[in-house]
Symmetry: C2
DNA sequence: ATAAAAATTTAGGTTTGTCTAAAAATAAAT
DNA sequence: ATTTATTTTTAGACAAACCTAAATTTTTAT
């Protein structure tokens, strides 16, 4: 089955918002896609007719098995293109998201499989998110939040929870990126902020909000 | 100024059809774009309002200076992507056109300039067509038609006049491709067909129609 | 120079994806 | 358990890009 760009964007949005949630609300989609709730309702009807989602009025929406497959295909394209942009074209990891939003809609499967091969079948994109393989298989990462890390224990940043330019700008400013090694020096209970030491050098403070979207693994 | 995909396709079509011609007709665009003449008229009005073309009802259309710049930008993208597909992803030169038709609409200028650099600033695409540089400068190739080549004079294929799958399929079948060396052995006045010897080996016959869309340079 | 043919434009519709405003359903609060 | 607030859906419109059918202009042929 073929999909328009708009349909693909809705499918991808449902996929992302479904993480953890049982169903996704109309308003959540409206916010994610920057459209009005009424427009979301229209599209949900259309996707339901195509059996991509299951949806009952007022009851929220979730992807069907077929829909999940489609979503994983789009996510695969998005992340492979991001890897390409950073690894081959020397883009900064914080400036690839928007371009990949366009590239992910190029339809050729042959293209994406050849790209995958050219890149050496990478397993993670530049933000640390796993790349689904050509069959839609995706490595489930045991995402450990920085906010839950032990004190004085060296960890490494493996993923960030969003690709908003605002977040990426903040990380850049603080000198944090994928693979950065650090340890938590202090936790302030008042506001949940953390004091980190990066590579045994600079000390930076991160807010509770920031710490909750940074994922790490112990070293 | 920004353009929709449909607008870009019209601009590119006018550019291609304008080659040699003073103005381009509505019907020519309709045929090229596989749409009805009435649809073409609608779009011409729109592009005229945007000052991309000059157009008077019933009088045909041509690109404005601005329109030419836009067209060259699209052509540049198309040909760089084709080069990428063949050179990096190992696509056959006859299977890249359709994918490039999609990729040429990706908007990021940074992307295309980085891609250009990554590819080593190629001057010609896999079909032998020149690639405009980032300023819109394009090498005018002195396109010598095979149908006008001298007998028994070694020449090399430098370009093909169209990217239709039909043409590319035929070339593949005959064992002809970019860079193929050959010489014309005989010209049949009856139907304008040519007998060629490829690399001093096989002998193939090509029709007048085919010979007129193959471009060569003397060796 | 007219009549016939071809090309082009106009007029009026359709589909996709969006919107606003109003109605209906669900959830929250007193 | 009502009332109030929030969420969601319906109804009706709009722009983009296409279509068909009919009218108009230009070109070609007699």
């Amino acid at each position: 089955m073929k999909f328009t760009m708009a349909e693909e964007n809705y499918i991808k949005a449902v996929y992302h918002l479904q993480h953890g949630q049982e169903v996704v609300s109309t308003n959540a989609l409206s916010a994610e896609l920057q459209t009005k709730p009424a427009s979301v309702t229209d599209m949900l009807k259309k996707l339901k007719a195509k059996k991509i989602i299951s949806y009952e009025p007022y009851r929220g929406v979730k992807l069907s098995a077929e829909g999940r497959k489609v979503a994983l295909g789009i996510v695969r394209k998005h992340r492979l293109w991001e890897y390409f942009l950073v690894d081959k074209l020397q883009f900064g990891w914080d400036e690839v998201h928007e371009v990949a939003e366009e590239l992910e809609h190029i339809s050729s499967n042959k293209l994406i499989d050849k790209l995958d091969e050219f890149l050496g079948h990478p397993k993670f994109d530049p933000h640390g998110d796993p790349i689904p393989d050509s069959k839609g298989k995706i490595i489930a990462q045991p995402q450990e939040q920085l906010s839950g890390a032990l004190l004085h224990t060296p960890v490494q940043i493996t993923a960030v929870g969003s690709q908003s330019t605002e977040l990426l700008e903040l990380l850049k400013h603080k000198g944090l990126q994928m693979g950065t090694r650090l340890e938590v020096k202090k936790v302030f209970d008042f506001d949940g902020s953390l004091e980190l030491r990066i590579k045994n050098q600079q000390v930076v403070t991160v807010s509770r909000e920031l710490a909750s979207v940074l994922f790490v693994k112990s070293l």
